[in-house]
C-alpha cells in the first residue's frame, strides 16, 4: 500500500500500475521512496503488506537512461546486481543469458554498451533489473528517450516479460497513450505537490496489440487520463 497525501492505492501482486503526471510533480521521487533510495523529505511514505514485502532489496529499478557501465560487457552489466549481492554463480549466468535471449540480445552478450542502439541498451537495463528475480519492478520513464516505433516494440516486450516473470510493475511515464497501453491501473498525478487526482482501471485484456490504440475504448481511456492531467481544459 502506497500512501501519498490523501490517496491510498493497493498494488496487486502481478499487476502493472502506471504513474502518469506532469513533469516535476514528484513521480520519480515517489518511485525512489518506494525503493528506499530516497528518504521522504516532506510528507511520509508507508509501505506494508505482503505484496511489496521488504522493498529495500526485492526490487529492480529501470532508469530513464540505460545507465549501463561502459567498461563492462553487456553480460557483465546484466550480472552487476548479482556481483554486488555476492551471488555471482553459474545459475546467475544462466539466468542472465535467458533474459538476454528473452529480449533478443543473446547475440550481444560480449558486446560493449557503446556498440548498442538506445533501444538495445534499455533492453539490457531491463534484464539487469530482472536478474535477481525481484517481485517488484520499478520503471522511471524507461522509454522516454526512444523514438515512437522502438517504444512500441519495447511496450510489447515489457508486457511479454511481465507475463513470463510474473513481476509486479510500477511504471512512471508522462505519455498518456503509453500509460493506457501498458497498465492495469493508472494513477494520474496533479501538478506539484503531486496528489493523485484520478485512478483509472484499464479493463482491456492482455495480450494487447497496437490495433487497440485506435479502438473507441482506448480512446476513451486516453481522453479521461488527459482530462485528469488538464490537457484538454486549456483549449476548450
Amino acid at each position: 500500500m502506497v500512501a501519498l497525501e490523501q490517496v491510498n492505492y493497493r498494488l496487486e501482486q502481478g499487476s502493472l500500475v502506471a504513474l502518469l503526471g506532469p513533469s516535476g510533480c514528484g513521480k520519480t521521487t515517489l518511485l525512489r521512496m518506494v525503493a528506499g533510495m530516497t528518504k521522504a523529505s516532506t510528507g511520509k511514505i508507508e509501505i506494508r503488506g505482503r505484496e511489496v514485502d521488504g522493498p529495500q532489496d526485492d526490487f529492480g529499478f529501470v532508469f530513464q537512461t540505460p545507465n549501463l557501465l561502459p567498461w563492462r560487457s553487456v553480460l557483465n552489466n546484466v550480472l552487476f546486481p548479482m556481483e554486488i549481492k555476492h551471488r555471482l554463480d553459474r545459475a546467475a549466468r544462466a539466468r542472465a543469458m535467458e533474459l538476454l535471449t528473452l529480449v533478443g540480445l543473446d547475440g550481444f552478450a560480449r558486446s560493449r554498451p557503446h556498440e548498442l542502439s538506445g533501444g538495445m541498451k534499455q533492453r539490457v537495463a531491463l534484464c539487469r533489473a530482472l536478474i535477481h528475480q525481484p517481485s517488484l519492478l520499478l520503471m522511471d520513464e524507461p522509454f522516454g528517450a526512444l523514438d515512437e516505433l522502438t517504444r512500441m516494440e519495447m511496450h510489447d516486450l515489457l508486457l511479454n516479460i511481465r507475463k513470463v516473470t510474473g513481476a509486479t510493475v510500477m511504471f512512471v511515464t508522462h505519455s498518456v497513450s503509453e500509460a493506457v497501453y501498458l497498465a492495469d491501473d493508472i494513477l494520474v498525478f496533479s501538478r506539484r505537490p503531486g496528489r493523485v487526482i484520478d485512478q483509472i482501471k484499464i479493463d482491456m485484456a492482455y495480450p494487447r496489440n497496437h490495433e487497440i490504440r485506435f479502438s473507441r475504448e482506448f480512446n476513451d481511456y486516453e481522453r479521461r487520463a488527459s482530462a485528469g492531467l488538464g490537457v484538454l481544459h486549456g483549449h476548450g
Binding site: Q56, L69, P70, F80, E83, I84
Partner: protein, 253 residues
C-alpha cells in the same frame, strides 16, 4: 596514407626547426659556446651514441620509477581527498602551495634526507609528477556520473563496492589524462634529481658538458631528454588509446 602523414608532418616540423636553428647560427654568427650548429650537435650525438644510450637508460629508469611512485601515492591521495570533504579542505591548499614551490629549491632537502642514491631522484620525480595525477584523479572521482551512483544505490552497493566497481573505473580516463602530464614531469623531476646529486644520467651528462663549455654535447644530452620525454608520453597516450573502446561513450577521453 594517414600513417604516412602522421610521420611526415612531425618530421617536417622538426626539420623546419632545425633549419631555422642552423641559419640563425650562421647568419647571426652565434658563437659555439652559446649555441652550436645542428651539425655539431649531430656529430656529438653520433660520437657519444653509446654514452647517451647508457645515461639515457638511467634517466629512463628514474623517470619511470618516479612516475610509478607518483601514481602509487597520487591515486590513493586523490581517493582520500575526493571521498572526504574535510581531508580535501585540509590538504588541497597545501597541495597547491607545494606546486608553486620550485622543486629545485626543495631538492637539496630531499637529498639530505634521502642521500645521493636513487631514492632522492625518485622522490623528486615523484614530487614533481604526482600533482597532476592527484588533481585529475580527484576530479574524475568527484565527477562520477550521477546515473552510475543511482545504479549503485538501486542495487544496494556498499561504499566499498561503489568505489571499486563504479567510481574508480569511471575515473580511469581522468587518471590517464593526468598521467600524460605526469610522465613528462617525471622526466624533469629525474633530471632535477640528477642535477642536485648524481653521477649518472642525462641530467648529469648535461651538467658535466656544461661545466666544460662543451655545448655540442650538452645539446646532445638535451636531445636525448626530448626523445625520452616524447617516447614516454607516447607510451601513456598509447595506453589511453588502447583503453578508449573500454570507455566508449564516456564524456571524458
Amino acid at each position: 596514407m594517414d600513417k604516412i602523414t602522421r610521420i611526415v608532418y612531425p618530421l617536417v616540423g622538426i626539420v623546419g626547426l632545425i633549419a631555422v636553428w642552423h641559419f640563425y647560427v650562421v647568419w647571426f654568427n652565434v658563437p659555439m659556446a652559446v649555441l652550436p650548429k645542428p651539425l655539431a650537435v649531430w656529430d656529438a650525438i653520433v660520437k657519444n651514441w653509446p654514452l647517451l644510450l647508457d645515461e639515457g637508460k638511467v634517466t629512463l629508469m628514474e623517470s619511470v620509477y618516479g612516475f610509478l611512485l607518483a601514481f602509487a601515492f597520487g591515486v590513493p591521495l586523490a581517493v582520500a581527498i575526493s571521498s572526504s570533504r574535510v581531508l580535501n579542505l585540509m590538504f588541497y591548499p597545501l597541495l597547491i602551495a607545494t606546486q608553486s614551490l620550485p622543486k629545485v629549491a626543495l631538492a637539496p632537502l630531499l637529498l639530505i634526507w634521502l642521500g645521493t642514491g636513487i631514492e632522492s631522484k625518485l622522490a623528486i620525480a615523484w614530487l614533481v609528477a604526482f600533482f597532476p595525477i592527484v588533481v585529475d584523479t580527484a576530479t574524475g572521482l568527484r565527477g562520477t556520473p550521477a546515473e552510475f551512483l543511482d545504479l549503485a544505490t538501486s542495487v544496494r552497493a556498499n561504499g566499498w563496492q561503489t568505489f571499486w566497481k563504479i567510481r574508480f573505473p569511471a575515473a580511469l580516463p581522468f587518471v590517464i589524462s593526468g598521467s600524460k602530464v605526469a610522465i613528462t614531469l617525471a622526466v624533469i623531476g629525474a633530471v632535477i634529481g640528477e642535477f642536485i646529486g648524481s653521477n649518472e644520467g642525462l641530467g648529469n651528462l648535461l651538467l658535466v658538458a656544461n661545466s666544460q663549455v662543451n655545448t655540442a654535447l650538452a645539446f646532445a644530452a638535451l636531445f636525448g631528454l626530448a626523445v625520452l620525454g616524447m617516447a614516454l608520453y607516447a607510451a601513456v597516450a598509447g595506453v589511453e588509446l588502447a583503453l578508449k573502446p573500454w570507455f566508449g561513450d564516456m564524456r571524458h577521453g
